[in-house]
């Protein structure tokens, strides 16, 4: 369990997160939603040590995050940033780098690391493309490669910052299905997204953020009834027999 209590954080001296408290459990797909600038990406970056913690506590499986070294933390939490750099490498080379936190100097990937990265590629269905250059793949395939890298990292917590960006509708749904499966395997998968219907249709719970605070963390059904979506986004989210759909014809 990833427990966040009274977390204040930000960039440099600028505070973005204001006393955020949240519990992220294993076996669940959690979507973090909110308007631009609400602190969603900042929250994820703080959880992996990219942003400084001003005050508050973060504990992973009962261990304070501040007591872990950066490599120890990376062995527990994997993170994929928004708008990933596309390195001019093969799929296999990129996925193998997920094993980096498990190595010490000199960093040499072992046969076991290679086996684990092959398993990760199999899991997301990209093994046939292992020798392809990343730049030659479609946006959807690239996201799968980065998710395989996070799987190779072999962590219980996977944090993804806007993984649906640049993907078409079918690839978005495919990716959400994959994330749901990964959560069903016993991992905690947290994704930041702007796509409300996908977040509500696929997630086990939804955390709604605004102005650096978490307004609500509940099941999609309760979040839909709450009315905060209408207030924050100015659109209506309807729970229909076909799932959650947007009604923005106000």
């Amino acid at each position: 369990m990833l427990e966040i209590k009274g977390l204040c954080s930000g960039y440099g001296k600028k505070q973005v997160l204001k006393s955020v408290s949240l519990t992220l459990e294993k076996g669940r797909l959690i979507s973090v939603i909110g308007p631009n600038g609400s602190g969603k990406s900042t929250l994820l970056k703080t959880l992996v040590g990219i942003n400084r913690v001003f005050s508050g506590e973060i504990a992973v499986d009962g261990i304070p995050l501040s007591s872990l070294s950066s490599r120890e933390r990376a062995r527990k939490i994997s993170y994929l940033s928004q708008g990933m750099t596309i390195p001019d490498m093969t799929v296999e080379e990129v996925v193998l780098q997920g094993r980096f936190p498990h190595l010490s100097y000199p960093c040499v990937y072992t046969e076991k690391d290679k086996e684990l990265s092959i398993e990760a590629m199999k899991r997301v269905g990209i093994l046939p493309f292992a020798q392809n250059r990343l730049s030659s793949l479609s946006g959807g395939m690239r996201q799968s490669v980065f998710i395989a890298m996070a799987l190779a990292q072999n962590t219980d917590y996977i944090l993804l910052d806007e993984p649906l960006t640049y993907l078409d509708v079918s690839h978005q749904a495919e990716l959400m299905r994959l994330l749901k499966e990964l959560a069903a395997d016993g991992r905690c998968v947290v994704t930041v997204t702007h796509d409300l219907p996908l977040a509500f249709n696929f997630s086990d719970s939804v955390a709604v953020m605004s102005n650096g605070s978490v307004l609500l963390h509940s099941t999609p059904c309760d979040a839909c009834k709450n009315g905060c979506i209408d207030t924050l986004f100015g659109v209506q989210l309807l729970n229909t027999e076909y799932g959650y759909i947007l009604n923005n014809m106000k």
Binding site: E72, Y79, F100, P106, A130
Partner: protein, 337 residues
């Protein structure tokens, strides 16, 4: 054999072939560098004995020069490959962003102080290259520069260091001849007192760099993702830039400001081996060494008995290559964020 393992086998075969060709390239280039020159010597004369004229030419002229050209090419190609990976900009060669000219300024200062060789010269050259790299890195980190700005700031630093070198030569006219050849980049005056310290520094840097190849791969995933994988990116960036400065400094202390090697070789090798530093770095070392050695031999025989500095040949090859990269390269390789 399924398509995945067949593809894997083909990739491994390609990499092995590249290594084999690279090793042969270095050996052939070095052998040519020793055998060929403005003074025509037969194979028998070359190994006549160290007391003979031909033996002295072999031991004191051609051997240090050939080894020097290999070390210089290896160091500059490696330095270029590392700088390009760390700054995420494929145009960021050591001769373009002011690393070489930083080392050049330090060598001019050391010449003014009467230091023409030895470890002191190598260390001063490294210090100059290091200051230049760190100044650029500081700017990149402090002002969050885009890829295009990095090169432009580097070009500005390059001009600044060249101007400072000119100030030194104006104040100390006696070193003008040295710095004149030095600015073009030439291997005519390579002596063991210059070669040995620079080679020791370059080889140590090379060995350390080879143990850090996979770290460089992680760094190329971008700042946030590398940190997400548990890397202390600021520290690693400084280590890589210090190593690239050591390499550039050692090359400059041997041959002066030989330009474009750090651009041409990494780009060409990347096209065939891919971008992962695991193979990119050793292959750059091999092909860089062979390339400069071959160009130096050409510089001696093209207009024999006259000799043109190897830096001129590099510039003739490098300028069209640089423009071609600008015109045909992906915009994301060198501009924007």
């Amino acid at each position: 054999m399924n398509s995945s393992s067949k593809s894997c086998y083909q990739t491994q075969l390609k990499i092995k072939t590249l290594y084999a060709v690279g090793i042969i390239f270095v050996i052939v280039s070095t052998a040519l560098g020793i055998a060929v020159g403005s003074t025509s010597l037969s194979l028998a004369e070359l190994f006549d004995g160290l007391d003979s004229v031909s033996g002295r030419i072999l031991l004191y002229v051609r051997l240090p020069r050939s080894i020097g050209s290999v070390v210089c090419g290896m160091a500059l190609a490696l330095s270029g490959a590392v700088i390009q990976s760390v700054l995420a900009n494929k145009l960021a060669g050591p001769s373009i962003i002011g690393v070489n000219s930083g080392a050049g300024l330090a060598v001019a200062v050391s010449a003014a102080l009467g230091i023409y060789g030895g470890f002191r010269l190598s260390l001063l050259a490294f210090a100059g290259a290091f200051v230049a790299t760190m100044l650029l890195n500081f700017g990149v980190q402090k002002w969050k520069m885009g890829k295009g700005s990095v090169v432009l700031v580097g070009v500005a630093l390059n001009c600044l260091f060249n101007a400072l070198t000119d100030v030194v030569t104006t104040l100390e006219p006696d070193i003008r001849i040295i710095t004149g050849d030095f600015k073009i980049g030439e291997l005519q005056g390579v002596t063991y007192s210059k070669l040995i310290p620079a080679t020791v520094v370059a080889v140590i840097s090379l060995v350390i760099l080879m143990t850090l190849r996979n770290e460089l791969g992680v760094l190329s995933l971008g700042e946030d993702n590398a940190r997400g994988l548990g890397m202390n990116t600021s520290r690693m960036r400084c280590i890589f830039l210090a190593l690239s400065a050591l390499l550039a400094g050692s090359a400059v202390s041997i041959a002066g400001l030989v330009s474009f090697v750090g651009l041409i070789v990494p780009h060409t090798v990347r096209r065939v081996s891919g971008n992962h530093p695991h193979h990119l770095l050793p292959l750059c070392a091999l092909y860089g060494g062979g390339f400069v050695c071959l160009c130096d031999t050409l510089s001696r025989v093209l207009f024999s008995p006259y000799e043109i500095p190897v830096g001129i040949i590099m510039a003739f090859l490098g300028v069209p290559f640089f423009i071609l990269l600008l015109v045909r390269g992906r915009r994301s390789d060198y501009a924007g964020d």
